[in-house]
């Protein structure tokens, strides 16, 4: 991630203007940001042609996240608007449309005229797991019911100690990547041993 000198100057100031961007690689791709209204942030590492990010109310917050260091891989939850057609459609879709899909979080830095000083910097990648819908019923007859959709996202290290349900066999490899012959000969090695390296 490279910051231009203009971006560094903007971040040095006492007051900054920052946009937080969220991208979920489902089909179609979900692109949201924490700002108001739509924005086209231009070409970046994930969007090779300019794409529009929707704003205001779609993404309610970005959770704190950290990179794995010395221990527990994290799982974070993103709260999405519970009333948007797009988000509700996502929540009610088949779980395999969401599970395992790359979820990227990045920032963009604006100048004093709210113009982006550079491309979106993608800072964290996780992998979506499941969507859950929570409803907080009204506490009083004139209160409001609050509905939120939360997307649980794990990092690459999440579940690393959990036993995988697939193996290095040709059948599993064909399921993962059809036509790939990499594990075609693994049964040959089940009854003999090879010494490697030979010096």
């Amino acid at each position: 991630m490279e910051l231009t000198s203009a971006e560094l100057s903007a971040l040095d100031a006492d007051a900054q203007r920052i946009g937080a961007f969220f991208r979920l690689a489902t089909d179609p791709i979900v692109r949201l940001w924490l700002g108001v209204g739509p924005i086209n942030p231009g070409v970046n590492a994930l969007d090779l042609t300019g794409q529009t990010y929707r704003g205001l109310g779609e993404l309610l917050n970005l959770p704190e996240f950290q990179h794995l260091l010395n221990g527990q891989a994290e799982r974070v939850e993103f709260s999405l608007s519970g009333v948007s057609d797009e988000v509700l459609a996502l929540a009610s879709a088949e779980s395999n449309n969401v599970q395992g899909k790359a979820c990227d979080v990045g920032i963009g830095i604006f100048d004093s005229d709210w113009q982006l000083l550079g491309a979106v910097k993608w800072m964290w990648r996780g992998y979506a797991d499941y969507l859950s819908i929570t409803r907080s019923p009204a506490q009083t007859p004139d209160g409001q019911t609050v509905q939120t959709v939360a997307l649980s996202v794990g990092s690459l290290m999440t579940g690393r100690r959990r036993r995988a349900f697939s193996y290095f066999t040709d059948q599993d490899q064909q399921a993962r990547s059809p036509g790939d012959l990499f594990f075609e000969r693994t049964p040959i090695y089940s009854d003999n041993s090879k010494t490697w390296p030979r010096f």
């Binding site: 006492d14 007051a15 900054q16 920052i18 946009g19 108001v36 209204g37 005229d113 709210w114 409001q144």
Partner: protein, 237 residues
Amino acid sequence: MPDAVVFPSSLLRERSGGWSLKATTVSPGQSATGAFSVARIDGGGAWVTELGGVNLKTKTHVKLWRALENLADGGVEPVVVPMCDKRHFPAPIVDGEPVYSEDPIPHDDDTFFDDGSGYAQSVVEASVTTSAALRATSLSLTPTSMGDLEGGEYFSINHPVQGWRLYRIGTAVLSGGVYAVTIRPPLREAVMAGTRLEFDRPRCTMRLASGDSMNLSLDSRRFANPSVSFVEYFYPA
């Protein structure tokens, strides 16, 4: 973009009110050098408005309010809310006096409609000089009939997708008959050269701030002075 309900001008009877751009900021607290830094993460803010103490004193006012509450449907339907800012809009000067409105205009045979009304016409006419992109905060505008811009004036643009959007001028510099203005919030949609700017009756596409924003409680089952709040509404892209 579907047609949205328009807040009737006959209900613009508020005792107080205002329009503001709602900002969202985050702050890490005080730094070691004693500075309080703050970051905005809202991309320019969204409009919120409150009409306080709307005076409903006739049967028509009350029924109009109730009908509008139905059409606003608890905040899920957009409502185009006009603002009355005639004291501060750039009224053209004619014979040394500012012109705030035109008299009703008759047909070409100098007659009016059966109810005595005529055609209405805006006083201020201006248009965009050069195209501007989505989220631009600078515009060039060409005045056809307009007083001097000083900054602080409101205008609206009727965008093809996002409908009516309200903008506020920050600075205005006149050069060669064209104004270069800075605006907030950033443009909600790209605009082409020649797009008309509405200064006489600016308006914005909003929705009720909450489902019970238009609750009505009548005094003596006849009169009321309710308040209502709106927040900016966006059509799906």
